[in-house]
Symmetry: C2
Subunit: 516 residues, 2 copies
């Protein structure tokens, strides 16, 4: 499959496109501060781009689909007199074997424009023909075109208009959409298979728990469903990023780890900020050394998420195994280079791989309303910390109070840090899955810092973990390329076999009409 010419898309394209995919869990867990949302702001802008990939993503896979809209209740769980909103969804029925035979492949839309997720989830498109499947990509409410109150401007105006941007409402949107579509297509008997990556993967997994009557199974890729409260240690994310660097080069790891103090002390010197601005080629003078540290932290985190075995493309293109390249730069800078100069050489792999950037901008809209930030300030409260001993990042402890203050200040909303675990399960999540769940694939790559908050071992016969040592953030969902390594091909083959098994079982044993 991977070697089919159909899937040898231009490298450039698959790379550019990859940016949007890896941006799906776009909350790099830097310390909450006035600058914390900076990268989210930037990424959310990107993910809110409307329409197909533009002229600068020439050759992007242009999957065929119809764009349709469905009127959803803004609040499924209460009956306030609120306006409905138009949920966008993409649908393709050309491979569909029809209401008696064809399954429905349903991608749980993430926090961004659904066309980007469709373009970046090639696996679903490549799978559909061999399964005779209908393909549906619904957009997540409050993202892309699926804006309540008619426009993003109004929807993102304040806490009151943002109130209904929650995972539970999104799951209910999916449940209602599936039910109504099946009814309209007389496809009530068709099994639904869910797909999702990152936050979309979390939605797919939760959907299996909350709506077992709606879908028969889920491929859940790189979904940190356990990254809440104290279910996993808060240091996990940064430890994995750090290990990704350490495995390439201990000296690289050490250089980065030493750099923070150097940056901080430089920032305190007279003209220190000017010196830092110059060394890191910022277009405008840094206002604080922290801004630089956050800028670097984000780069390292995204490098880890996107540490793919082949060249890929964020906003700035990156080579294959980008962390290896970063460390090569850091370790092999010209003799006499300062530690800061070496760091700059390294992160230039992330921020300026093409060498075309003259100077760098920090985020220009740190306080812009941002969907994921809202979600992180309400229910998606993921604790992060950085360990003095094991992390290469500046050490800090998780500070729930300070985060809550930031949210109150920024969004006038109070986080509910124990809600997700109450609603979906925390320490008992795996236990609940074992007893009540079935047909879930948790796929993860261990280089991905989000893997630490996911499910990495088989939970039951039908809830299985597919873990690749060298994979990063939901690589398996991406379009096949000629550069896919064997372990990735094997992972995808295992996924196909499991999905086939769910469908065989469904068609074989469950001859009664499946509900809805």
């Amino acid at each position: 499959m991977a070697n089919s010419p159909k899937f040898t898309f231009s490298l450039l394209i698959s790379i550019i496109v990859l940016y949007f995919s890896t941006a799906t869990l776009s909350s790099p867990p830097v310390r909450r501060s006035k600058h914390a949302p900076r990268f989210l702001g930037k990424f959310s802008r990107a993910s809110n781009i409307t329409g197909r990939p533009g002229p600068n993503v020439v050759g992007a896979p242009r999957y065929r689909y119809e764009t349709r809209y469905f009127d959803q209740n803004l609040d499924h769980f209460s009956f306030s007199d609120l306006p409905k909103f138009r949920q966008r969804y993409l649908i393709n029925t050309e491979y569909w074997a029809g209401p008696n035979l064809g399954p429905i492949f349903f991608y749980c839309g993430n926090e961004g424009d659904i066309e980007w997720f469709a373009a970046n989830t090639g696996f679903v498109w490549e799978l559909a023909p061999r399964f005779g499947a209908m393909i549906i990509f619904p957009e997540h409410r409050y993202y892309g075109e699926s804006m309540p109150y008619g426009s993003q401007e109004v929807a993102y105006k304040n806490a009151s208009t943002l109130a209904h941007l929650t995972a539970e409402q999104a799951l209910a949107d999916f449940a209602v959409l599936i039910t109504e579509l099946k009814r309209n297509l007389s496809a009530q008997a068709c099994p639904v298979v869910l797909f999702g990556g990152s936050y979309g993967g979390m939605l797919a997994a939760w959907m299996r728990l909350k709506y077992p009557h709606i879908a028969i199974g889920a491929l859940v890729s790189s979904a940190p469903v356990l990254q809440f409260e104290d279910v996993v240690p808060p240091e996990t994310f940064y430890d994995i990023v750090s290990n990704d660097f350490r495995r390439e080069s201990i000296s690289c790891f050490n250089t980065i780890k030493e750099s923070w103090d150097v940056i901080e002390s430089e920032g305190q010197k007279t003209n220190g900020l000017s010196h830092l601005t110059e060394t890191f080629r910022f277009c405008r003078k840094l206002e604080s050394a922290d801004d630089l540290s956050n800028w670097l932290s984000s780069a390292y985190s995204y490098l880890a998420m996107g540490d793919y075995p082949y060249p890929a493309d964020f906003l700035m293109p990156m080579p294959g195994n980008p962390i290896k390249e970063v460390c090569r730069k850091i370790d092999n800078s010209p003799e006499g280079s300062s530690i800061l100069e070496r760091i700059f050489e390294g992160v230039s792999i992330y921020y300026n791989y093409t060498g075309t950037v003259d100077c760098f901008d920090l985020d220009d809209d740190p306080h812009g309303m941002n969907g994921w930030n809202w979600q992180a300030c309400t229910e998606m409260v993921m604790p992060f910390a950085s360990s003095k001993n094991t992390s290469m990042f500046p050490a800090y402890e998780y500070d729930e109070t300070s985060d809550a203050e930031w949210c109150l200040e920024s969004y006038h909303v109070k986080p509910r840090p124990t809600w997700i675990t109450t609603e979906f399960g925390g320490h008992g999540f795996k236990n609940a899955l074992k007893k009540f769940g079935s047909n879930i694939i948790f796929s993860n790559g261990l280089l991905d810092p989000w893997s630490g908050g996911s499910v990495l071992e088989d939970i039951s016969e039908t809830i299985v973990a597919l873990v690749t040592e060298k994979g990063a953030h939901h690589l398996d969902l991406r379009p096949a390329t000629a550069d896919d390594p064997d372990w990735l091909l094997e992972q995808r083959a295992a996924e196909v076999e499991l999905i086939q098994g769910w469908l065989d079982q469904y068609y074989g044993q469950n001859k009664a009409v499946f509900d809805m």
Copy 2:
């Protein structure tokens, strides 16, 4: 157990108290009309009485508990800036074996004052000591003292304040309350067993599906979880009521069936309404023959729900096997009695068994805001119809449009008739339970008209139906009495054995801390 002196409560008391229990699903499915909510209004007043049973229920079992309050989010699934509300709950820990051993028996509060449910759910209180269980009776939001916005007056003001009276919010209240209580008591490892009757039983069953990590099992008594859309025929309810009468006497059934036309034609005569008013001894003149028909229909439905084998007490006391008594009156009226006189003699068993009522009042507040009516007008949309062939009631078809108009007029809200089946499963409910559920007892008595919408057969090894041929509406949950027949004792014994099995399995196999 049933013969223990401890449980030989005064007959009168257990009977009075029974009224409130049978009122839990207080929506007799009479045709939606301006008079339809009449009995709901009456019953909701009763179920909103605050405090312990008053002086007229002397000898009612006075279970010991503390009354506590918990601040709940009014909206668990969105983040509007709404005031929290105080949820009342009753708690007893005197039998509790402590955080390492003792289970928690959690009654899912219905649509009424929780103290009444506590007083009428003797089974839970009688079970707790032998299981070393803590007992918790949480009140359902918008009922009893658990009023959002500080008072019933404000909470019931309009569709906007009533908006958050939904089953999903109530389930989330329960989940949050259990989680927080366990945390505060360091009782995270304690297994929770759910109990519920009627609508509370539906909540308990749904809780097993939606929050499998919160509780290990549920005793679900007389819960019509399938009474939605077309999952069961809409005629089921009235057919069962009718059969309850037919099994006692075919002539009684026929007399009632013939009476509607007589009433209608009488109502159309000059002075006909006066004559009907006189015959049925109403205090004020009837405004329409329909009012009389609804009054009679309600009596027949409540007689069927409360068709218990021993004397019981609604607002007016009733004998044991009350339908038998009604039919005896109808069939054996003095020679020369008209059909209407015979009907009057019959329903007097329901409305005037003590013979102390001089004249009858129709409901005095047919348009009063009523919690259950709101729920029925939003998501608890249960279709009812009356079959020309099999029912003794006037024939009519389910009219979704007319119901919706009534709701819009009365509550300014539009029903969502397909929501409950989407959220919890409809035709596929049993299938989902079979695949994903466990540890549920669906108990039903076949005389109960709500049994037609419940689960009457075993679904899996651990999801079992306990059906009694002669039982009525959630009799098994009531306090034991000396008059309990053997089949009731057997039903309860089977329930105890199953619950013991869940706990044995939990303690035996699940040594890890159960989540939350």
